[in-house]
């Protein structure tokens, strides 16, 4: 059941990356609240990761969202979910090239060249399908 919340938090955080305080997109509101909804889940195995995720998805008044960069935040996130003994990571898997089960199964992490703005644009379009009106 927590899988869908984790996926939603990851998805919105990915889309928040690079948005700034002036951006009026609803994704920022969704990302902020979904991050808050999974903090108690993340906090149990890895408090540090939970804090990093919270800081990067805050409803900011200055600067950009995901200030530490998506790769750093997701690396920390994937480490935290590897500590969730009751979670089958294969139910989460990956968002585009980033594998969130990297600490469960030895696979290469995403490189900076794989993490492109083109990927992100595709995600924004996909999101439109079921966004609240």
């Amino acid at each position: 059941m927590q899988v869908s919340l984790l996926q939603a938090a990851i998805f919105y955080a990915w889309n928040m990356d690079g948005m700034n305080k002036n951006d009026s997109s609803g994704i920022i509101g969704s990302g902020y609240i979904m991050a808050n909804s999974i903090l108690p889940i993340l906090k149990a195995p890895d408090e540090k990761s939970a804090l990093l995720f919270k800081e990067n998805t805050e409803f900011i008044v200055e600067g950009n969202h995901m200030k530490d960069g998506a790769v750093a935040v997701f690396d920390s996130f994937s480490l935290a979910i590897s500590g969730m003994t009751n979670l089958d990571c294969s139910l989460i898997v990956e968002l585009h090239a980033y594998n969130f089960c990297i600490h469960d199964r030895p696979q290469p992490s995403i490189s900076s060249t794989q993490y492109t703005s083109e990927n992100k644009e595709t995600q924004h379009i996909a999101f439109e399908v079921r966004e609240y009106n």
Binding site: M1, V3, S4, L5, Q7, A8, F11, K21, N22, S24, S25, G26, I27, I28, G29, S30, Y32, I33, M34, N36, S37, I38, L39, P40, I41, K43, A44, E58, F59, V61, N86, D88, S90, L91, I92, V93, E94, L95, Q123, A126, R130, Y132
Partner: protein, 155 residues
């Protein structure tokens, strides 16, 4: 908005009255939640337009409330029902609590089938899973409209 507060107050009182056993997954989640980020705190901060939210657009405020209900209030209702079901294991009430859990998890719009109804565009936690299964490549091989997580949970 009044209805919303009443709904949240109801769930909060239910949760606090639970007196959950220590060190269970449900109790960790609920305790962390009540301390740090319960939905009504966030929603009231949003509506009072505290500094953090003074620049928030209408769309962002809508998303905050809608997702707080889905990701926090309803999720905890499922946990509460499952916890009650476990505590009343062996009693008739146990099945009733399980029914509550499934109803809070899936909602009614999904219909009677296990795979739900993708085209109904529900907004439950169940619907959230199949919303994202294509994106995360976690759709069930036998039913691409549903996610593996939902299929596994229903087993």
């Amino acid at each position: 908005m009044m209805m919303l507060y009443k709904l949240i107050d109801y769930y909060r009182s239910k949760l606090e009255a639970l007196n959950l056993d220590k060190d269970t997954e449900a109790s960790t989640y609920v305790n962390n939640f009540i301390i740090c980020c319960f939905a009504d705190t966030i929603i009231s901060r949003r509506t009072r337009k505290e500094k953090q939210f003074e620049r928030a657009s209408v769309k962002q405020r809508q998303e905050i409330v809608a997702h707080a209900l889905k990701g926090m209030v309803m999720f905890m209702s499922v946990l509460q029902s499952l916890d009650s079901a476990a505590k009343s294991c062996g009693l008739v009430e146990s099945l009733q609590y399980l029914d509550y859990a499934v109803s809070f998890w899936s909602g009614s719009i999904e219909g009677p089938n296990e795979e739900g109804n993708y085209y109904a565009e529900g907004h439950s936690i169940f619907a959230l899973a199949y919303d994202f299964c294509d994106t995360f490549d976690t759709c069930d091989a036998t039913n691409t409209d549903n996610s593996k997580a939902n299929v596994q949970a229903l087993k």
